[in-house]
């Protein structure tokens, strides 16, 4: 494997990590769009800027961008996979966050973050009935 190939894979892997993390941040965002969301965006571009400092800047930025998208959507694919595996969530969770109640012998610790909205496109469950 040549040095150039390793560098490109490195940039793609870097993008993958950030893409994964962007999905994570967006999933646990506290409702409203805040300044921290813009800071995240600047981080995305900043990450791309770091790869642009190297010699083959266009190819590295391309690898970074593709890695970013792959990481972002991989999170979603893993989510679909896990929702499919468990009996506690159905496809409705993607639409309005619906889930089964916690069983008597189970609990959710207080420090666990709750998602604000799954993939609700507005209106929630009430919109379905319209």
């Amino acid at each position: 494997m040549s040095d150039r190939t390793i560098i490109l894979w490195g940039a793609a892997g870097f993008g993958f990590l950030i893409g994964w993390y962007v999905y994570y941040i967006n999933r646990y965002r506290k409702g409203d769009v805040q300044l921290s969301d813009l800071v995240t965006l600047i981080g995305i571009i900043g990450g791309g800027g770091i790869t642009a400092l190297f010699e083959a800047k266009t190819a590295m930025f391309g690898a970074y961008g593709l890695g970013l998208a792959t990481g972002f959507f991989s999170y979603f694919v893993v989510l679909i996979f896990m929702v499919g595996m468990t009996k506690n969530f159905g496809v409705d969770w993607f639409l309005d966050g619906r889930r089964k109640k916690v069983a008597d012998d189970e609990f959710i610790p207080e420090y666990v973050n709750q998602t604000t909205s799954a993939m609700d496109a507005g209106g929630g469950a009430n919109a379905i009935n319209r």
Partner: protein, 81 residues
Amino acid sequence: MWGGIGIGLVWGCLIGGLKGVPQSNWRNILSVAVGTVLLGAGIFLIEAWRGLIAFVIAAVLAWLVGFLWRSGLRKRFATPM
């Protein structure tokens, strides 16, 4: 160009996901506008016009696919509470 496509796809999905959160619209619009300008400027500096155009097309495409995915999913699977 590929950097613009990758970032555009992610950005389009993020914009599409904003709609469901109850909040004041002007704040959403402002955040999206500022974010788009920042990202567009950064991509333009690194990848010039081709990257910028690719970014815009990818963002619109991702937003559209996300919107159709959600509405399609709702029509097909959603059961009333």
